[in-house]
């Protein structure tokens, strides 16, 4: 063989070809010829490299340099720089996602580094169209060994010893299957290869056939020899033209070399292999249907027994294995079964190829040892979820499989372990879904697939899947009924139990598994007519409005900004939100996470536009509402939840009194959020509107001290608890009684009360949420010199908003990741240091994040005079007497009876806001306020035997429809803010608000999903 100083490998798999690798290949050939390097540099078009997301891919050896997204135009530079001058081209290298540092060598890229290649051994390395290259990498050594040194029984023994199980999905032990066929009497036997890969999201068989067709042929020769077959068929779907082309070529080459056909390698064994093209029926992947199809009949499954090993193709003993199974065989025979069985778990041996697709960064083919946690495949090899979204589930096993929820990410890739989850290994299609996926819709999708692909032979599959689909379609359209989930479960279990073949028996799996893990989503669709992922568009006008807990009509007020009608926009907002000014500053924007614009460039800056309206528009006037009802309502706590409830109840004619312990109304908005994020006058203005309705707010009045709780209940018909969560959680470590230890909530409250708070100079904050950032930035403003946030996970796991984290960093806040305090040390009763321990991330927790584990011996002491734990808060419920009929839960909170969101164990007492849910957001508190008002009113009316409340007719505001003809990619308009130096020593609002020009420009980005066309 000729020796070259360098090899340029251009991926010629279908994925890379689709993104233009053929042009790249031609350009390389041209350029090498033009530079007269043809004698020094070999250019190889390989099969699929595996990292399809990065295609077209080029790898240059001997260095192993990996180039991604290569275009034909880049080729000149690569040849000139890399090949001629020896300077690798950095800009085309893979970049580490967080640091953006280029990674030059292929095997250093996490996607490749964590894989183990057996079935994909030659992927991206050899020219699939040259048998010599296959042979050069030990090709046909397994077949040679089997045919010349081993008896068929010895071969079968070796395969049995390897523990190899069918990779097509069933996981039946391959050696055992072969031994059955070997024992079957008959002069004609068939060795068959299933290359009818049809699962949505699975493409490993195609890649193997395109990259390494000889491996499959060799596997079939070995299998054929061991069972005594003289004829083989590869049943390959016609939609794989490249695979078929390379297979046919490989068969020809193998025949020319005497590796196929008569008297292979002089052993006396003969085998012919033919490629049979399937016409695209999914069911033809089922073995008996596949055989029927080869026989020229319509591909429909036959009942088993008789099994194919006894009566298969043309009623002759046959063995069918899939592509990946055969690709493992040559190496098992060559290297020995015990080598193979040393890899993997107790019952699942060797490696498994997964086709990783969906909402994952590194889409491609991965091969890992059995026993690798599924989470490792998705997060380490797959590089996590695209766009920093939350992982929701992964569908494993295609339409026959089930989903793996976040809580099961530690599950090992092992046939039995996966079945326990309600999924199947299947052929290894792993479709990753993020928070924007609706699981009901996903189930509907897979059910539609199975229902269409049902051959129509047996009743449960043909009719049953159709009925299941109809129910799912109904649910997605908002026409779900009580009992639908149960009916789906009944249908599913009977179809599974009674269908004729594997297709029908597994078709209900996606439904069963999504019901098992995401029943709440089904219920949201059926009972609340809500699609939590904002996917089922029949359920909403626009995704943003649907995602908003109070369903603010976002497209309407954005359209009114565009039209310059700010007063109308204000009125639209006020219909559902009593605190638009507050939300314009501190809302977490559930809306924006579902904004369709985000799929193009950035989501709309919805909150900032909202703020623009309240900053610049004329606030609609509020008229007092006369008291028309005799029942009186007391609300404890003047936060967003309590005040919203007060507003709604006042509008319904109730006399409402709000009792507030602190000097000002506003609750957590006023006392937990720092002024530089939320100026006090903004809150005060919006509270005024509520008072203007006739609501009485009694500040500086603590229930339990200034007025007893029992007295309150005597005076008022209904009491609503909206006391917030003002008690910080403790760290639970030694030394928390030292001076200099503050809870974040208590610390922020002191500051927000306007008290003179003395902070130390070295401040440590513990936690990763917005409270931690608020405490840190407040500490900076109070003059602390060193402010360090200690967070036990990684930055990407921080619940705090990214722009808040960045702002804190700009203000000099340091953040230490993967660290947790284990002990507080002091001198003379005063804190002097925090003993910290380094953490490492291990397995996944129930939320799908990796759990931090302490690293033994990594302790160090951080010098600090103040520490502020900001890990969570709970409600102060001490005002409720011990002997009350309002029961408390085991953590000291108020018990909320199941199936209720705002009831306590006492009929006349309700509970809302952070006190009910734990620390949440303003907008969720508002939503609870609206809900409790409706529930309180309804409970009174039911008691009085009155008709239900009727909402007064809504004020009609005409919403203009104007959109840009052409959508041009435009990033979200940035928020003007104070420079870091101008803000670090004061509490001035940091964000300055949009100007008219910016707001108009931003408003024009709205795609108006609400439009009915």
């Amino acid at each position: 063989m000729k020796v070259f100083r360098s090899h340029i490998l251009v991926c010629g798999g279908t994925g890379c070809r689709a993104s233009g690798s053929e042009g790249v290949h031609q350009a390389v050939v041209r350029e090498i010829a033009a530079k007269e390097l043809s004698n020094e540099v070999a250019v190889v078009e390989t099969g699929c490299n595996g990292f399809c997301a990065a295609g077209p891919i080029m790898v240059i050896y001997p260095e192993g340099t990996f180039y991604q997204y290569v275009k034909a135009d880049d080729v000149k530079e690569i040849i000139e720089e890399h090949i001629v001058k020896g300077r690798p081209v950095q800009r085309l290298m893979y970049k580490e996602p967080v640091t953006e540092a280029p990674i030059p060598h292929m095997l250093d890229i996490p996607f490749f580094g964590k894989q183990m290649l057996i079935a994909l051994k030659n992927r991206g390395l050899i020219d699939a169209e040259k048998i010599d290259e296959y042979i050069a990498r030990d090709g046909y050594m397994g077949a040679a060994k089997a045919l010349t040194e081993m008896t068929p029984d010895e071969v079968i023994e070796e395969v049995k010893k390897s523990g190899l199980r069918g990779r097509g999905g069933g996981g039946f032990p391959t050696g055992l299957k072969w031994s059955f066929a070997r024992k079957s009497q008959g002069d004609t036997k068939y060795i068959l290869c299933n290359a009818d890969e049809g699962d949505p999201g699975a493409f490993m068989d195609r890649s193997i056939l395109e990259a390494d067709p000889h491996a499959v042929i060799e596997g079939m020769i070995i299998g054929g020899y061991s069972i005594g077959a003289t004829k083989g068929y590869i049943y390959c779907r016609a939609e794989y033209p490249l695979a078929i082309k390379r297979l046919l070529l490989a068969i020809e080459q193998a025949k020319d070399y005497g590796l196929l056909g008569q008297d292979i390698l002089g052993s006396g064994y003969s085998l012919d292999i033919e490629v049979y093209q399937g016409a695209g029926a999914f069911v033809c992947g089922e073995e008996t249907a596949l055989m029927g199809s080869i026989e020229g009949k319509r591909g429909m499954p036959r009942p088993r027994p008789p099994f194919p090993a006894v009566k298969g193709l043309w009623d002759k003993p046959s063995v069918l294995n899939n592509v990946e199974t055969y690709a493992n065989i040559p190496q098992i025979v060559y290297k020995g079964g015990s080598w193979y069985s040393s890899i993997g778990t107790e019952r699942s041996k060797g490696t498994k190829v997964f086709a990783l697709t969906g909402a994952v960064n590194n889409v491609g083919l991965v091969e890992v040892p059995m026993g690798t946690p599924i989470g490792d495949i998705i997060f380490d090899i797959g590089g996590g979820i695209t766009g920093g979204k939350q992982y929701k589930a992964a569908q494993l096993g295609g339409p026959s499989g089930g989903c793996i929820p976040a809580a099961a990410l530690n599950t090992l890739t092992d046939y039995e372990e996966i079945v326990k989850l309600g999924a199947i290994m299947g052929s290894g299609g792993l479709i990753v879904m993020d928070e924007d996926t609706c699981m009901v819709d996903t189930a509907r999708f897979f059910m539609e697939f199975c229902q269409e692909e049902s051959c129509g032979k047996c009743t449960p599959c043909r009719e049953g899947t159709n009925r299941m689909l109809q129910i799912l379609q109904r649910i997605c359209k908002g026409e779900g009924r009580d009992g639908d989930i149960e009916l789906l479960e009944e249908l599913a279990s009977i179809i599974k139990d009674s269908a004729l073949c594997g297709l029908g028996q597994t078709a209900p799996n996606p439904v069963l598994s999504t019901i098992r893990y995401f029943r709440d989503e089904y219920e949201a669709h059926i009972y609340d007519k809500k699609c939590p992922a904002a996917v089922c568009s029949a359920l909403f006008k626009s995704p943003c409005q649907h995602a908003c807990p109070i369903e603010m009509d976002v497209p309407a007020y954005i359209a009114l900004i565009r039209a310059g009608r700010l007063e109308d926009a204000y009125r639209v907002m006020k219909k559902t939100n009593p605190f638009p000014g507050v939300c314009g500053r501190v809302c977490p924007q559930f809306c924006a996470s579902k904004c369709r614009r985000g799929q193009l460039d950035d989501p709309m800056a919805i909150a900032w536009l909202k703020r623009y309206i309240t900053d610049n528009g004329k606030k609609p006037a509020t008229e007092p509402v006369p008291v028309t009802r005799k029942e009186k309502v007391a609300i404890i706590g003047a936060g967003p939840a309590g005040l919203t409830a007060a507003q709604d109840l006042a509008k319904r004619g109730y006399k409402v009194t709000v009792f507030e312990e602190l000097p000002y109304a506003g609750g957590m908005m006023r006392y937990a959020i720092p002024e530089y994020r939320l100026p006090r006058d903004v809150i005060a203005e919006e509270v005024k509107d509520i008072e203007a309705l006739g609501v009485e707010i009694k500040t500086n009045c603590r229930v339990g001290k200034d007025i007893s709780f029992d007295a309150l209940r005597k005076d008022y018909d209904i009491v609503v608890l909206a006391v917030g969560a003002h008690n910080s959680w403790k760290l639970g470590v030694e030394g928390e009684d030292l001076k200099g230890v503050w809870g974040a909530t208590e610390f922020l409250r002191e500051v927000n009360l306007g008290r003179d708070v003395k902070i130390g100079s070295q401040v440590a904050i513990v936690g990763g949420g917005n409270s931690a950032i608020d405490a840190a930035r407040t500490a900076v403003r109070l003059g602390a010199k060193d402010v360090t946030i200690l967070y036990r996970r990684e930055r990407k796991d921080m619940p705090a908003w990214e722009h808040e984290i960045v702002a804190a960093e700009h203000e000099g806040v340091k953040i230490e990741y993967l660290v947790a305090p284990v002990k507080l040390v002091g001198k003379g009763g005063k804190l002097s240091g925090v003993v910290c321990q380094r953490m490492k991330l291990g397995e996944f927790d129930r939320s799908g994040r990796r759990k931090p584990f302490p690293i033994e011996g990594s302790e160090y002491t951080l010098s600090a005079d103040t520490i502020i734990p900001a890990i969570s808060q709970s409600a102060d419920t001490t005002f409720i007497p011990e002997a009350s009929d309002i029961k408390k839960d085991k953590w000291g909170g108020i018990e909320i009876p199941s199936r209720s969101k705002n009831k306590t164990t006492a009929e006349s007492v309700f509970i809302i806001g952070d006190a009910a849910t734990g620390p949440a957001t303003v907008v969720e508190a508002i939503a609870m306020g609206h809900q409790v008002a409706a529930d309180v009113d309804a409970s009174i009316r039911v008691k009085n035997n009155e008709p239900a409340y009727k909402e007064p007719a809504e004020e009609k505001i005409d919403i203009p429809f104007e959109v840009d003809e052409e959508v041009v990619e435009t990033p979200r308009a940035a928020m003007p803010e104070l420079a870091a130096v101008d803000r670090a020593a004061n509490f001035k609002e940091v964000e300055l608000g949009y100007t008219r020009e910016i707001a108009f420009k931003e408003a024009c980005r709205c795609l108006r999903c609400d439009a009915e066309i």
């Binding site: 269409e452 692909e453 129509g456 032979k457 009743t459 449960p460 009977i494």
Partner: protein, 351 residues
């Protein structure tokens, strides 16, 4: 070899299915897509039973009995599965029993009744498919088809006409000739085997439509008059008129075991036809006159004798009919050779 069905030990011979063993032992298992003359395919899943150690339910019609097998035919699991299958079949189309030709003689109706599927929970499809009834013999009402596939298998396995097969997949799956052709436009020879095996009212004889069903009709077993095979058939009579010809769905006797050809099954309208000859006719002075059998036979005998005398035996040739029995054909050639004295004898089936 012995299997246990519902606690009863049953002996069986190799090759027997669980259903066959149960039936032979008086244990009832309902079937729909099964037919004694056709290879079982286990499609309808009505005959499912629980087999000990099996992962899922098993179609008893296609399951070979194995020594030591333990089978339950009547458990709640089996019944709920059976019931759902029937419920699904009842609502997959429009089974309008009130005007259905098969009402009272319908496997699906019996199943629904015996399983008590009173009010199916699924809605019937909105679309109603037009009946295919352009030809004079077979009406196809695909609204009633339950896709048991018996017509397909009967066409391919019993009569080996290979006209019918499945088309489409999933909800569009259907049975019929290739390319969605109508029977009369396809290679169909109208043997009517598909009609015979259809367990519901999806395929029926056009001639008998609205003429009576069940006990309205008197069935008279007869031998087909068309040829020498001697096919056994049932003449369905009402008010002394033939309404239609049928053969038993199962349990039909030799030699035809229920199969017929187009003539035997559909060619009966001549019997009551106004143009039918009921007496021999003799042409007198250019006009046909009614005659008695004696007159007619005498007339023919005289003429044959005259021809033989005047022109010799070989001036006479005989052509016999396929509608005669073997014995009649034998006698006919014997008559020509021995009585007339010629070898000029042939048979219409040879032409």
């Amino acid at each position: 070899m012995v299997i246990t069905i519902d606690g009863k030990k049953c002996e069986f011979a190799a090759g027997q299915t669980v259903y066959q063993v149960a039936k032979a032992n008086g244990i009832y298992i309902p079937v729909l897509c099964h037919h004694e003359q056709i290879k079982p395919v286990g499609a309808c899943r009505v005959c499912v039973v629980e087999v000990e150690k099996a992962r899922s339910l098993v179609a008893s019609c296609a399951m070979p009995a194995e020594d030591g097998m333990v089978v339950q035919t009547n458990t709640p699991r089996v019944l709920s599965s059976r019931k759902l299958s029937v419920e699904l079949l009842m609502t997959q189309g429009h089974h309008k029993c009130i005007t259905c030709e098969s009402s009272g003689d319908c496997v699906l109706q019996d199943l629904a009744y015996s399983l008590g599927v009173e009010s199916p929970r699924f809605e019937e499809p909105a679309a109603y498919r037009e009946l295919e009834q352009a030809n004079e013999m077979i009406v196809r009402d695909m609204n009633k088809c339950v896709l048991c596939g018996l017509c397909v298998r009967a066409c391919n396995e019993v009569q080996v006409n290979q006209v019918l097969d499945y088309t489409g997949r999933g909800p569009t799956a259907a049975v019929g000739p290739a390319f969605g052709l109508k029977y009369e436009d396809s290679d169909c020879v109208f043997c009517g085997e598909c009609v015979r095996v259809c367990p519901v009212g999806a395929l029926f004889e056009k001639q008998g439509r609205f003429q009576g069903r069940g006990d309205d009709l008197q069935k008279v077993r007869n031998t087909c008059a068309y040829c020498g095979v001697g096919c056994q058939l049932d003449v369905n009579i009402k008010d002394n008129r033939i309404v239609k010809i049928t053969t038993p769905r199962e349990g039909a006797p030799a030699p035809n075991y229920g199969s017929l050809c187009i003539k035997g099954r559909f060619g009966h309208d001549f019997v009551g036809h106004a143009d039918r000859l009921t007496t021999p006719l003799i042409r007198v002075d250019g006009e046909l006159k009614e005659a008695t059998w004696d007159e007619a036979i005498l007339y023919v005998a005289e003429k044959l004798n005259t021809i033989k005398k005047e022109h010799g035996s070989d001036a006479i040739a005989g052509l016999s009919s396929a509608r005669c029995t073997n014995e009649e054909n034998y006698l006919f050639q014997k008559f020509l050779r021995a009585v007339i004295g010629t070898n000029n004898v042939d048979h219409c089936a040879r032409l």
